[in-house]
């Protein structure tokens, strides 16, 4: 097990090095000088241009810049944003809880609806319900979520005025410290009545939008995985023994059917983060996806570079954990490959 763990960990090292290289080269290839692109009509004097280029290390030979870049990354220094002069890592850490909160809630939404719906569809295979669910799930994972988000805002928030349009909390009514950055937790800690519910109200629409594609995928996965389990011998045996259908399906079959689903959920972290970019843009959600897009429009290349690096690190980390957990559950994986 430890050998497997170490080997798996070692495998991420080259990926990481390559990632450093790619982010470095990418930013180098961006047309225009990173300093000059941000200057307005006033222009900039050659001396000051030289000064800022020096500050960013742009006057060093390229190989030196790359080594410096790697060295700083290895020390946890992801650079300094051009527009705010804040450490990229600091900015990332302040915004990341909002993204996690949104993604986790989206996933909860997808699992809470997708798993039971998929399981029932498998049991009632071929029924109208099954067909309807498959159609809905098809639309779910085919959905252009940016459009879906706009439609929901339009109808639920603007026309019907049921839910707030954007933001994480009603700023007029509530004010409290945010020790964790997770609004749901902070509202509870604040002890202000109604704050938690208000935070939930703000989360509903973005979570639905971000959860739509995973919902479609999970419902289908659960259904097909369940179908497979239901056809296996031990389920038939259990049925034949006269165990109640609920016990057979709910306890034995579903538990086994969920294993691949859980893996899929782990692997969806990457696509969830991609979806978060769009969702956060639509809902002005103060997370990292929105921040990356802003960095592009502000031409804040160090922030973009560091941001991509950090987001990818998170994905690599989560995938590693998923692999390890899976390896722990399933020894065949460990010894294969």
């Amino acid at each position: 097990m430890i050998v497997y763990f170490l080997r798996r960990l070692a495998l991420t090292v080259p990926t990481f090095v390559a990632l450093m290289f790619v982010t470095f080269v990418a930013i180098r290839l961006v047309p225009g000088d990173p300093v000059e692109v941000r200057v307005g009509e006033h222009g900039i004097s050659p001396e000051r241009l030289a000064y800022f280029r020096h500050q960013l290390g742009l006057d060093l030979p390229v190989w030196r810049q790359f080594l410096d870049y790697c060295w700083r990354l290895l020390h946890g220094d992801f650079g300094v944003s051009l527009s705010t002069n804040q450490k990229v890592l600091t900015e990332f850490l302040t915004l990341f809880p909002a993204t996690i909160e949104l993604s986790v809630c989206a996933m909860l939404f997808a699992v809470a609806i997708g798993v039971p719906a998929g399981a029932v569809a498998a049991v009632k295979r071929g029924s109208v319900y099954d067909q309807a669910l498959m159609t809905v799930s098809l639309f779910g994972y085919s959905m252009p979520i940016f459009w879906w988000g706009l439609l929901l805002i339009m109808f639920v928030s603007v026309k019907l005025e049921w839910l707030p349009v954007s933001g994480r909390i009603d700023l007029i009514a509530y004010y409290f410290d945010q020790p964790t950055g997770f609004m749901l937790i902070d509202t509870l800690l604040s002890g202000q009545s109604g704050a938690f519910l208000d935070a939930v109200r703000h989360l509903i629409l973005p979570a639905i939008v971000l959860g739509t594609v995973p919902l479609g995928v999970i419902a289908r996965m659960t259904r097909s995985s369940m179908l497979e389990v239901l056809s296996e011998d031990y389920v038939r045996t259990a049925r034949a023994k006269g165990l109640s259908p609920f016990r057979v399906i709910g306890v034995h079959a579903l538990r086994n059917a969920l294993l691949p689903v859980v893996t899929v959920i782990g692997l969806m972290v990457s696509s969830l983060l991609a979806g978060a970019v769009l969702t956060e843009t639509i809902f002005s959600w103060p997370g990292v996806g929105h921040w990356l897009i802003e960095s592009i429009s502000r031409r804040d290349y160090p922030a973009l570079q560091g941001g991509v690096m950090l987001v990818s690190t998170v994905v690599i980390g989560v995938n590693l954990v998923v692999d390890l957990v899976y390896g722990a559950i399933n020894p065949r994986i460990r010894h294969g490959r």
């Binding site: 495998l11 080259p14 990926t15 390559a18 990632l19 790619v22 982010t23 990418a26 930013i27 290839l29 961006v30 047309p31 098809l138 639309f139 994972y141 085919s142 959905m143 252009p144 979520i145 940016f146 459009w147 879906w148 706009l150 439609l151 339009m154 603007v158 594609v213 479609g216 995928v217 289908r220 996965m221 097909s224 899929v264 692997l267 969806m268 990457s270 696509s271 969830l272 983060l273 991609a274 979806g275 970019v277 769009l278 843009t281 996806g289 990356l292 897009i293 592009i296 290349y301 973009l304 991509v308 987001v311 990818s312 994905v315 690599i316 995938n319």
Partner: protein, 307 residues
């Protein structure tokens, strides 16, 4: 956002089983035809393809002509709608219907280009990784892992930030993002095939490595690859539309659906139709392609067929 995980791996044995039958194509078609949803999807996507091909003849107006006398005209079913602009016009006075029709061309073009380029590169890299082995394999696999580690849209954004937003660069960006799926699929199936007896037999018979890979191994990996390619078209369309929505895809006045949506976003309150229609077009196209792709997968997969 991609539904890559929706695709349970089809093992090469099963594929070989299918393709090993006397007339694989007709068997496949017979299975496919049974699936009403898939046939429906195929007919929808064929219609869209026809519309795209004959856009010049079908579209009532040029997609980039600005009718300055009829900016933001309402669609026919709204008060004040006219037959001149059946689906109304957008903020620049472009005819929405014509733009949607030409947009089908743009979106399908993106989808098919991404699919074919990544298909070809994926096959080459995948076979290389599987056959040459060791160092080449490690390099290719690591690079693909790297691309997979960056969330798809973030990777595409990075590529576009470097190259600048345009239709061509959208295709490049999305191709890079989806390449790993093809490479990994080909590599895995090829590795599986290489252990089979018939490959060993061919080797013993003196078949050269290139010929072995291309004409012996590759055909037996094709089934899952074709399914991946079909579904890859819809993913590419979605991804490109997402980039367009963020203002990083095809630039106006190119009638790309995602870009159209982004450009008209400001009118969502005053003229919701301008926003609703391009999104609907994306949804219909993607659903149709996914239906077809799912049907193809089921038709290839004998287990699903039996039941």
């Amino acid at each position: 956002m991609a539904a890559d995980v929706a695709l349970p791996a089809v093992t090469s044995e099963e594929a070989a089983e299918v393709l090993g039958q006397p007339t694989p194509l007709s068997a496949f078609w017979a299975a496919f035809r049974e699936n009403h949803g898939a046939v429906f999807g195929l007919s929808v996507i064929s219609t869209i393809a026809l519309i795209a091909i004959f856009a010049n003849f079908i579209a009532p107006h040029s997609p980039i002509e600005q009718f300055r006398d009829a900016v933001r005209a309402p669609p026919i079913w709204d008060a004040g709608g006219t037959w001149r602009f059946v689906l109304g016009t957008d903020g620049d006075g472009h005819d929405t219907l014509s733009r949607l029709i030409y947009g089908a061309r743009v979106s399908l073009f993106i989808g098919l280009s991404v699919m074919s380029v990544s298909f070809v590169i994926g096959v080459v890299l995948g076979l290389l990784a599987a056959s040459v082995g060791s160092l080449v394999d490690v390099v290719i696999t690591r690079v693909m892992d790297l691309i997979m580690a960056v969330p798809s849209l973030v990777m595409a954004i990075l590529v576009v930030a470097v190259l600048g937003p345009s239709l061509a660069n959208t295709i490049v960006a999305v191709t890079i993002v989806y390449l790993p799926r093809y490479v990994r699929l080909v590599r895995a199936s090829a590795l599986g095939e290489l252990t089979k007896d018939y490959v060993t037999a061919a080797r013993v018979a003196g078949v050269g490595p290139l010929r072995l890979m291309v004409s012996t191994v590759l055909p037996n990996c094709l089934a899952p690859l074709i399914v991946q390619a079909a579904l890859g078209v819809s993913d590419a369309i979605l991804e490109a539309a997402g980039l367009g929505f963020l203002g990083l895809g095809a630039q106006a006045p190119t009638p790309e659906w995602g870009t159209m949506l982004a450009d008209s976003r400001e009118f969502i309150r005053s003229d919701p139709w301008i926003v609703a229609l391009p999104g609907l077009a994306i949804l219909i196209a993607v659903v149709a392609i996914n239906l077809t792709g799912d049907g193809m997968r089921d038709a290839f997969d004998p287990r699903m067929r039996r039941t």
